[in-house]
Symmetry: C2
Subunit: 647 residues, 2 copies
C-alpha cells in the first residue's frame, strides 16, 4: 500500500502515513495536538486544519462554511490522505502559539516481528519434526520374504540412511494391505525424535506417492479465543488461519471461574468436552480453508495457559487456584490426538507446550520459544499483558519469570468509563497544554462510548506530562478549566461532553481510575524489578522489550514508559510479536529444534511467586507513582518534564 508524507505546520513535524488514513491520526502519530471531541465522527467540528499544499479526500462537513472551504479548511478527522500533503494547524490565540515550544512524543507502537522460516533454515534450526518419504520397495519373492515391517525399515535404512526406526501398531495393522495396494510403492510418515540418536517413529503409511502433501496444525488455546493455523511442512507457509471464541466462556470468563466450575461433579469433563468442540470447529475451519484433507495433517502443536492446558488434557485443575498454587505437570509427553478427542487421523500425535507454574503456562513458554528471548544476547523483557501480566526476563544465559496480578484495568475493568477495545472506545488522546481541550480518536471514528486500555495509558501519560495530573495521580485542582471538576468528592477530567458522546453522559477520567491504572502498571513494573533484583541486576539494564498478546500492538510506547508501565528504553528496541503462543506452536510444528530447546529452557527458567518474594512489596509501593518514585530510571521523561517547566 502506498505511503505519503504529511507535514504539520507550524510545528514542522513530518510523518509518513499509509494511504487512506485520516489527518487526525497523522497528527496523533506526529505528536501534534488538534482539538477534537467527537472521536473522529466529524460532528464536533473542532478539528479544523488548513491544507497548504497537496490534497486530501473528504474532510468537508456542514461544520465548515463556504468561506472556510475557500481558505483550505478541512476537518482533520474526516480528511483522508491520498498524497503528500502539508497541513497547517490554525493558531487562533497566543495560547496556541505558546505550545509551539513544547515537545511532544509522537505516537509510536512496537515494530511487529514475525519469525522467518527462511532464516530458521539458514540458521540450521530447521529440523522438520514430521517428514514423508516416498518409497518404491522391492516386492517380496520366495527368496526374499522378510516381514513387511522389516522390508519397510530395511529399505529406509539402506536407501534413506534411516537407522533408528520404530513402527507403531496402527501402522503395522495397515502395512500388509497398504504395501500391496500399489505394488509396494508407499509413502511413510516419520516423526523425528527430539533428541538425536533416538528413534524416528513411522506413524503413517499410505499407498503411492503423497510426499508433497504434509501439513501440521498449530493451535493457541486461549481462555477467551482459540486460534488455529494450518502449516505446510514442505514450504513452512501458513496456509490458513481461523479463530473462534472458546465455548468454555459460558462456564466462566476467566481461569478462576473455570476451575471453580471444573470442581463441580462432571465439571472437568464438561469443560474438556466444550473446549474440544471449539478446537475441533477451528480445526474444521482451517483445514477447509487450506484445502487439505484431514488425513493429510501429520501433527498438531498446542499452547495454552496452565488452566487451559489442564482442562484440554482433562487433568484436575483444582490445585491451581489453591495456595500454594501447584499445577499438575510441566512437561507432557506426546499424546495420540484421537485419544484426546481431537478430530484428526489416528496417526497424529499432539504436542503440548510445557508449563512453568500455575500462572506462567504453556502460552508464555511458547512465547519465549517463538520470540527467541532464550537465544538473545541482550537482556530482554518479554511481557504478555492481560488480567494477568506474565513477564519473562533474561537472555541466552538465564531466564526468570513471574505472573503479575495486574487486574483488569488494561482491559477496561475498574475504570468508570473503561471498555474493551471495540468501536467507540477512545484509543488515542491528546490535550491542549493551555486550553486543556482534548483530541479524542476512537476506534471506528465514531462518537466515544468509553476508554479502552491503550487509550487510558495515553490519556494518563498525557495528563501527567502536561502537568494536569501529578506524580501521585492527582489532578491539579488550580487549573482554569471546567473540564477538571469534583463530582461526589471525586476529582475528574471531562474527556468528552455529553453532546459529543454516544452515551448521553459526560465521559470522565476520575482519580480512582488513574489509581487503578497505577496499581496495574506498578504490579508489572515492580514484578520486573523483583525478578532483576533476585538475579542482582537493575531495570535500567534491560536492552530490549518484546510485547506479546493483542494488547501489545496498541500500546503507545513512549506513553507506556511515561506512566512507568514499561521501563524507559529506546522505542526502537521494543518489538511486538502478536499472538506469541500461536507463534510458538507454529515454530514447534516447523522445527524440532524448538522442542529440543524447550526442555532445556524450562529447566533454566526460574519462576518467582511474587507474593512470596520479600522485596516485591517494597518495589510495588515505590512504583505506585507516575512514573515511579525513582525518576532516575526515566531520564528521557525527566528531561521533557524539566524542559516543560522551563517554558
Amino acid at each position: 500500500m502506498a505511503t505519503f508524507k504529511v507535514v504539520f505546520l507550524p510545528y514542522n513535524r513530518e510523518v509518513t502515513m499509509r494511504e487512506g488514513e485520516t489527518l487526525i491520526r497523522a497528527a496523533m502519530e506526529a505528536g501534534v495536538h488538534i482539538n477534537a471531541s467527537c472521536g473522529g465522527e466529524g460532528v464536533c467540528g473542532k478539528c479544523r486544519v488548513i491544507i497548504e499544499s497537496g490534497a486530501v479526500k473528504d474532510g468537508i462537513t456542514e461544520k465548515l462554511s463556504a468561506e472556510d472551504l475557500e481558505k483550505g479548511y478541512r476537518l482533520a478527522c474526516r480528511s483522508v490522505i491520498c498524497g503528500d500533503v502539508t497541513v497547517r494547524i490554525p493558531i487562533e490565540s497566543e495560547v496556541d502559539a505558546s505550545v509551539l515550544k513544547l515537545q511532544f512524543t509522537g505516537r509510536k507502537t512496537a515494530h511487529i516481528i514475525q519469525p522467518d522460516f527462511g532464516a530458521l533454515k539458514e540458521q540450521g534450526l530447521f529440523i522438520p519434526p514430521v517428514e514423508k518419504r516416498y518409497l518404491e520397495l522391492p516386492e517380496p519373492t520366495a527368496q526374499d520374504n522378510m516381514p513387511d515391517t522389516t522390508r519397510l525399515v530395511g529399505f529406509l535404512k539402506l536407501h534413506h540412511d534411516e537407522h533408528r526406526l520404530a513402527v507403531s501398531l496402527p501402522v503395522i495393522r495397515k502395512l500388509p494391505d497398504t504395501l500391496r495396494a500399489d505394488h509396494f510403492r508407499v509413502t511413510a510418515t516419520l516423526v523425528r525424535p527430539v533428541q538425536s540418536g533416538r528413534k524416528s517413529n513411522i506413524i503413517h503409511i499410505e499407498p503411492g506417492d503423497t510426499s508433497d502433501r504434509n501439513f501440521a496444525i498449530a493451535l493457541d488455546i486461549g481462555t477467551t479465543t482459540i486460534y488455529g493455523e494450518v502449516i505446510d511442512l514442505k514450504s513452512g507457509e501458513v496456509l490458513s488461519a481461523a479463530a473462534d471464541f472458546n465455548d468454555q466462556i459460558s462456564y466462566g470468563e476467566d481461569v478462576i471461574t473455570r476451575i471453580v466450575f471444573a470442581e463441580k461433579p462432571g465439571g472437568l469433563e464438561k469443560l474438556n468436552a466444550v473446549v474440544l468442540e471449539t478446537i475441533n470447529r477451528v480445526i474444521g475451519k482451517i483445514i477447509r480453508r487450506a484445502r487439505v484433507g484431514r488425513e493429510e495433517i501429520s501433527s498438531i502443536t498446542l499452547a495454552g495457559n496452565t488452566t487451559m492446558t489442564q482442562l484440554f488434557l482433562k487433568v484436575e485443575p483444582r490445585y491451581i487456584r489453591r495456595s500454594p498454587y501447584v499445577p499438575a505437570a510441566t512437561l507432557y509427553p506426546p499424546i495420540n490426538a484421537v485419544s484426546l478427542g481431537l478430530d484428526l487421523g489416528d496417526h497424529v500425535e499432539a504436542l503440548v507446550y510445557p508449563q512453568i507454574s500455575s500462572y506462567v503456562g504453556g502460552d508464555i513458554v511458547a512465547g519465549v520459544m517463538g520470540s527467541g528471548i532464550y537465544r538473545a544476547d541482550e537482556l530482554t523483557l518479554f511481557m504478555d499483558i492481560g488480567t494477568n501480566a506474565e513477564i519473562v526476563i533474561g537472555n541466552r544465559d538465564w531466564l526468570a519469570c513471574a505472573a503479575c496480578s495486574a487486574g483488569p484495568a488494561f482491559e477496561g475493568g475498574g475504570v468508570q468509563f473503561g471498555m474493551r477495545a471495540t468501536k467507540g472506545a477512545i484509543e488515542d488522546f491528546s490535550i491542549h497544554p493551555r486550553t486543556f481541550e482534548p483530541m479524542n480518536v476512537t476506534i471506528g471514528s465514531v462518537r466515544p462510548k468509553g476508554i479502552c486500555g491503550s487509550g487510558l495509558i495515553i490519556m494518563v501519560a498525557t495528563l501527567f506530562e502536561i502537568g494536569i495530573v501529578d506524580s501521585k495521580g492527582k489532578y491539579n485542582r488550580d487549573l482554569e478549566t471546567s473540564r477538571i471538576r469534583e463530582t461526589d468528592g471525586v476529582w475528574e477530567y471531562v474527556v468528552a461532553w455529553q453532546a459529543d458522546t454516544q452515551i448521553d453522559r459526560d465521559i470522565v477520567l476520575t482519580e480512582i481510575d488513574i489509581e487503578n491504572l497505577m496499581r496495574a502498571k506498578a504490579a508489572i513494573y515492580s514484578g520486573c524489578q523483583t525478578l532483576l533484583d533476585e538475579v542482582g541486576l537493575d531495570i535500567s539494564m534491560i536492552e530490549q522489550i518484546i510485547l506479546a498478546g493483542g494488547f501489545g500492538s496498541y500500546i503507545d510506547l513512549e506513553k507506556a514508559m511515561t506512566i512507568g508501565l514499561l521501563p524507559e528504553i529506546d522505542p526502537e528496541r521494543v518489538t511486538f510479536v502478536g499472538n506469541s503462543s500461536l507463534m510458538g506452536a507454529r515454530m514447534s510444528a516447523l522445527t524440532n529444534r524448538i522442542r529440543l530447546d524447550v526442555a532445556e529452557v524450562i529447566q533454566r527458567m526460574t519462576n518467582f511467586e511474587l507474593s512470596e518474594t520479600p522485596s516485591y512489596m517494597d518495589h510495588y509501593v515505590a512504583a505506585l507513582f507516575l512514573p515511579h518514585t525513582d525518576m532516575d530510571n526515566f531520564p528521557r521523561l525527566k528531561a521533557r518534564l524539566e524542559n516543560r517547566n522551563k517554558i
Copy 2:
C-alpha cells in the same frame, strides 16, 4: 514320592520306579519284553510274571489260577510296585530263551529342566522390568510449589537415583488427587527401559505403600490352548496357572483354517474378539487363584505363533498363508493392554514376543529365549514338534531356524488307527523278537483304541530294530506269524486283536502308516541337516537337544533316534523344557535382560524357507529311510543292529 528297585530276571535288568507304577511299565523302562495285548487292563492275561522276592500290590485276576498264585505268578500290568522287588519273566520256550542275548534300549524320556529364578539373579541377569517405589514426598508449601510431576520426578532423582524418567498422561491425570490422598505418600510403578540410558516410565501411582504387591502375567497364546500364569515380581514365584481351549477352535482347527476364516468379512475382528475372550477368561482365573487384584498386575507378556500373534493384535494375517509367506512384522512395540482389549489396568503395557517368519513365530522365539539356546556354548538343536515342527539350531554365536511341514502323524493324523494322546491310546510298545507278540501299554491302562504319536514312534522303531520292518519301512513278508498280513493289498502288523481292543476291530499298523511317519520324521531330520549344511556344519556335531511342547515329554529318546527323528546323541544330552513359549513369556516378565537380548537374537537368527533351499529335497529323500540312508550318523543303532544280526 518313594522309589523302589525292580530287577527283571533272567535279563538281570534293574530299573528304579516310583511307588504306584505297574510292573509292565517298569519292564518297558528296563527294555524287557512281556507279552501284553490289552494295554494294561488285565483282560488278555498274557503278561504273567513271577515275583521272586519283595512284594507288589494287586496283579491278581481270574486269568491266574490258584496254582499260579501259589507259584508267585502275577499279571505285570496290574501289579503295583510298593517296595523293592525281583521279578522273573517266565521262559516257556527256547524261542524265549534265545532273546536273552538281545540288547534292548530301555525307555528313556528327556530330563525336564525349568529356569531357576535364583540362578538368574546369581548370573546378574535379573533386571526387573517393572518395579514399585514407595515415596514419602515433602508436601508443597508457598516456598516450594513446584508442579506435582516435578515433585515426584525430582524426589525419585534425589532419593532413589532415578535420573531418566517419563510420566504418562494417565499418571499425570491421577497425580494431583493421588498425592493428596495420603499426605504425599505414594507408590510409583516404574517400567524399566530395555536399553540402559533410556527413560523409565512412571506408569502408575497409588496412594500409600503398595510396593510389596507387584505382579505380572505371562501368557502363551496357543492355537489350541491358551496358558497363563501370575508371577510375583518380588519373589519371582509363579503364584497360579491355568489353561483354557482357544475359543478360535470353533472357526478352524489349525492356523491355516483360521486365516481362511479371518479373510471373510468381519472374520479378523471375530477371531480377535474370541481369542481375547479366552485370554480374559484365563486372566480372570489366574488372578483369582493367585488372590491378587486386577489393578495389582503391572505387566503382561505374551507369546504365540505368527498367526496367533497377528490375530491377537488384529493384524491382517492373509499374507501368511500365501506364497511367499510374508508376516506383517517381527518386532511389535509395547502396547497399552486396555487398547488391545485385555481386561487389565490401563497402566499395563503388553509385551508381545517378536516373530521370525510366517511359520517361526513368537512361541519359538520365546522358547529360544526361555531355553537359553542363544547363550549356549554347545551346538544345540531346539525342536518344538507338532503339525509344524519348528527347529532352531545354533549356539551363542549363531542361530538358524526353519519350520518343517511334518504333517499330523505325531498327533495321530494320517495313521489308520492314529489318535491323540488320550485314554486308550497305545503309548508304549514292545515286541517279542521271536514270537512277534506285542506288549501294549495304553494311557489309562485300558484296552487299546488306537495309537498315539509317541506310541507310533516306539512301535516303528521296535519293529525296525527287531527286523520286522526293513529300512524302507516294509514288513518282512517271510515271518511265520499271523500278525503280519496283507489286507486289500496293504501289508500290516496286528498290534491288537479285536478281542483285546475297545473298538471291535483289529488294531493294525500298515505300511502306509509307517510311510507317513517316515515322511514326518524325514521332514524334521532333513530340516536340521539343511540348516547345518547352510552353515557348513554336520548333524553329527550336535551336542545337545532341547525338546519343547507337550509332545516332547513323551518321546522315547532312543526310539526317536532309531527311526531317525532325532539325531543320535547321548540321551543324557537331551532335555525337555515343556511349554517353552510360556516359559519365555515368564522369563521376559521377570527380567529385562531377555527383552534386551531378544532384539539381538532375532537379528542374528537366520530363517530358512526349506522349500526354497535347494539342498533340502536331497536331504529329505535321503531321510525317507529307517533311520536314514546314511547309517554312519547312527553308530549306536548300527552296533545294535550288527549285534542282532550276529545272534
